[in-house]
């Protein structure tokens, strides 16, 4: 097991280095840069562009910029954001925390809703409720988070019950800052959680359906054990394995990929920061965001793999 974890950690490290390096090189290689965007067409006289590039260190060849960045990165200095004029190493954790809050809330919601529904649907044969749940899941699954968030923002705007965007009010309302953040969290978290809950429900119900047909389950029922006891105690354990296998992947992609929802709902997270960095061609920030995203993915996958390895030692072979 230790060797397995070390192997996974080494791969995680490789992933982070590869993703952030590739991001920096790609962002730097495409036409246009931070200097041209800042000056605009009206101000982008050639000499002025060169002057600005020199100031931002963009006048050097990309390979040299990359070499310098790597030299600093090994000392955990990921450069200064051109856009925010602050160290990337300071900016990323601030936004990553916001993304983590959003993603973990959404994940908890999705798990609490999706898994029980999946168990209910998977353990029953026919009936109105399973059909209704299944139909709802299909609808939610077919709606990308972009549409879900637009719909929820629309509902929030129409009803006026919840803030539509941002993470905090300009002035904390009565009830305090924590309640304010919670109110702001509802729309983006629901936008992510609803399709995710639908996915969990689908996976869980399929897994459960297969498990309840297993001879040992049928035998237990035949021996007179109550069906609900068999389902929730014996079958559930076996049916959780497929979910556990994808859980890490879901967590990783959630943390690194809630771009659309963060943009629509103006949630100041990592996804939005990445988008801003890409639009502005802030190469160091792009590399930092991509690196952080891959850290999320790597860590989540690692936990998932380790958890799976404990459940099923065959995966370490």
């Amino acid at each position: 097991m230790t060797r397995y974890i070390i192997r996974r950690l080494a791969f995680a490290l490789f992933l982070v280095v590869a993703v952030s390096s590739a991001s920096l090189l790609l962002a730097g290689a495409v036409p246009g840069d931070f200097a041209s965007g800042t000056l605009g067409l009206e101000g982008a006289r050639r000499d002025r562009l060169e002057q600005a590039r020199e100031r931002y260190g963009l006048d050097k060849p990309l390979a040299v910029q990359y070499r310098d960045w790597v030299a600093h990165a090994v000392r955990l200095d990921f450069g200064n954001s051109l856009l925010y004029d602050r160290p990337v190493g300071d900016l990323i954790p601030e936004r990553a925390v916001n993304t983590a809050v959003l993603a973990l809330t959404a994940l908890t919601l999705a798990t609490l809703v999706g898994l029980p529904l999946g168990i209910v649907v998977g353990s029953r044969h026919g009936g109105l409720m399973p059909s209704a749940i299944r139909a709802g899941s299909v609808v939610l699954l077919s709606m990308p988070p972009l549409l879900t968030s637009l719909f929820l923002v629309f509902v929030a705007a129409r009803t006026g019950w919840l803030p539509i965007s941002g993470m905090r009010s300009a002035v904390a309302p009565p009830g305090g800052a924590a309640l304010d953040v919670l109110r702001h969290l509802v729309v983006p978290a629901a936008a992510i959680a609803l399709p995710l809950a639908a996915m969990f429900e689908r996976l869980q119900s399929q897994a459960m359906r297969e498990v309840v047909r297993q001879p040992y389950v049928l035998a237990a029922v035949a021996r007179g054990a109550s069906r609900s006891r068999v389902v929730w105690r014996d079958a559930l354990k076996a049916a959780l394995r497929p979910i556990a296998a994808v859980y890490g992947l879901v967590v990783g992609t959630l943390l690194s990929g809630s771009f659309a929802v963060e943009v629509i709902t103006a949630w100041p997270g990592l996804g939005r920061l990445m988008l801003e960095a890409l639009s502005a061609r802030d190469v160091y920030l792009v590399a930092g965001c991509a690196g952080m995203g891959s850290i999320f993915l790597a860590v989540a996958t690692l936990f998932s793999d380790v958890a799976l390895a404990f459940v099923d030692p065959r995966v370490t072979e």
Binding site: G32, T38, V153, A266
Partner: protein, 570 residues
């Protein structure tokens, strides 16, 4: 249009009575002081230093926190004394003696003197700073000479008799010498006032002070208690206590927030796609929808006319010909263009200067007819005909008559505009490829001259052509189709140079108008830039805003006059 804008401004004030607002019209004596508005922008500011960036949010921060010597009223286009109380022009018609308002202080209490004005000019002209505002503060490419004759008097000498005169000074925010002089002396002014600067360090003489900047979320401004301007009733301005500017990257979310009353105004216009929704919201009294008429500047379509740009390319024989551009102008149905691109909220235009610019528009501008047959005949005159009967044109060498248009992706009106041009030209047999790039890449391509044709919005800072020499003169860095020419590449550009040189030197408006009409006539004949339609501008603000002076000022149609905006009491 200006009359309409003024009427609309007045309409916004209907229930408040009368005295004097941003546009100098009558407004209320019963305006309530205090309160807060929430505005929105789509992106973070690039910096708090207006000398080094020109994005909308940086511009907004500067408008709210800094002041200038004069202000151009964006509704009337008239020059208004601002930090400068008055000025006189000497007999040489080059030297302005400017008297500053007395007893003014920056927001941190430091006294404002003529030395600050001299410093601001030194900062903007500083080579190491490389300010983007430097060119807009030059006359004929030459810097102004500025000196302080006493603490309240500044002498500004132009290199020659310059017709726009003090209008030019609107481009310069008066920055605090006591805060920024060390950076200038160290050659680091370009790095000063970055986004990590504590808000308390960003001092100015504008109506508001920056109180808080939360990256990714918002900027908060509070009223500057030392703001110098007084309301018509003698009370202090600004009326508002606070302005919060939320960063909302998504346009749909921005509109929904406005509609639901969670923000009061946006930084830009209501896009055509959202007009119907906003009109409905206005009908229900949730927002005020202000119709400002067609914009001052239509989106530009032009070819790369740099000599040698297509060296070694067989298409060089026709790509830079006047006939091609004239044929395109005739081939595109401008009404259809306006309907498709602006969803009906647009009007055909034929010139860089649109009818909205009443003072300078050449009323003799011919309306190019939609004439595909005439366009084909023109193209035939430069060797472009359908030689193989496939419905598409080929040049004399048998190569397809094909070119590409570079434009910015993510801006629906530009994407649609380029698509309409492509489709219209296909009808006469020209093949067009549309290349959608992000803004940085488009700018890079245009500045480096690596493009064939482009469609892009051009927004001069002022309606007076004399203040945009970079566009008009062949040596200008913003002479779109062939930038920074060492000498005029064509006879007609040489003639425009001559006319513009006379135009900016004449003191007589009628003479200036005559000369500029001739410039527009030459441009119409040679069509270095083709214009198809101008968008009609609608601006939406919440129903609780009063004393708004909406203007056709494309970055900040409402907040350009933030000091006189007030909110209706709840």
């Amino acid at each position: 249009m200006l009359a309409v804008a003024a009427l609309l401004a007045a309409a916004c004030r209907t229930d408040t009575g009368s005295t004097s607002g941003a546009a100098g019209k009558s407004v209320s004596t019963s305006i309530v002081r205090g309160g807060e508005i929430v505005a929105s922008v789509r992106s973070e500011p690039r910096t708090f230093n207006r000398l080094t960036a020109r994005d909308t949010t940086t511009d907004l921060v500067s408008e709210l926190t800094q002041a200038k010597l004069v202000r151009i009223n964006k509704v009337t286009q008239a020059v208004e004394p601002w930090l400068a109380e008055s000025w006189t022009l000497a007999a040489d018609r080059r030297t302005y003696t400017i008297r500053l308002r007395q007893n003014l202080t920056f927001s941190d209490g430091h006294p404002f003197t003529a030395d600050d004005v001299v410093f601001a000019f030194a900062a903007v002209y500083d080579e190491k700073t490389g300010s983007i505002l430097a060119d807009s503060l030059k006359a004929g490419g030459k810097t102004l000479t500025v000196s302080a004759s006493d603490p309240q008097t500044v002498v500004v000498t132009f290199p020659f008799a310059f017709a726009p005169g003090v209008r030019l000074l609107e481009n310069l925010p008066i920055l605090p010498r006591h805060k920024l002089e060390p950076a200038l002396k160290a050659g680091k002014l370009a790095d000063a006032w970055g986004l990590s600067t504590p808000p308390s360090e960003v001092v100015g003489m504008g109506p508001f002070v920056l109180r808080e900047y939360t990256p990714g979320q918002r900027l908060r401004f509070e009223r500057n208690p030392r703001y110098w301007r007084r309301a018509p009733d003698g009370g202090p301005l600004p009326y508002l206590d606070r302005v919060t500017v939320d960063v909302i990257p998504d346009q749909n979310a921005e509109l929904l927030r406005l509609e639901s009353g969670q923000i009061d105004t946006m930084s830009g216009e209501v896009v055509p796609e959202s007009y119907a929704t906003m009109k409905r919201a206005a009908g229900e009294g949730r927002v005020q929808l202000l119709d400002l008429g067609p914009v001052l500047w239509a989106d530009s379509f032009w070819f790369n006319l740099k000599p040698g740009a297509f060296a070694g390319d067989a298409r060089a024989a026709w790509l830079q010909r006047d006939e091609l551009r004239r044929a395109i102008s005739m081939a595109v149905d401008r009404k259809a263009f306006a309907d498709a691109v602006f969803l009906g909220a647009g009007e055909p235009v034929y010139s860089f200067v649109t009818p909205a610019n009443k003072e300078w528009y050449w009323t003799g501008t011919p309306a190019t007819p939609h004439d595909p047959a005439g366009a084909k005949a023109l193209l035939a005159s430069i060797g472009l005909t359908d030689r193989n009967g496939d419905g598409l044109m080929e040049d004399a060498s048998g190569q397809p008559a094909r070119f590409s248009i570079v434009t910015q992706k993510g801006r629906p009106r530009l994407e649609r505009g380029a698509a309409v041009v492509r489709d219209e030209l296909k009808k006469i047999g020209l093949t067009v490829d549309v290349a959608l790039l992000d803004a940085n890449a488009v700018i890079e391509r245009l500045v480096s001259g690596r493009y064939e044709a482009a469609m892009y919005p051009i927004l001069p800072t002022d309606t007076d052509p004399g203040t945009n020499p970079d566009f008009w003169f062949s040596s200008g860095s913003f002479h779109l189709w062939n930038m920074s020419q060492p000498k005029p590449a064509t006879d007609w550009e040489r003639r425009i140079d001559e006319l513009m040189a006379q135009q900016i030197g004449s003191a007589d408006y009628a003479e200036r108008k005559r000369l500029f009409d001739e410039v527009q006539q030459i441009l119409y004949e040679h069509q270095p830039v083709v214009y198809f339609a101008a968008q009609k501008w609608y601006v939406a603000v919440s129903s609780r805003l009063v004393n708004v002076a909406p203007a056709l000022y494309q970055p900040l149609p409402v907040l350009w006059a933030a000091d006189t905006i007030a909110v209706r009491p709840r």
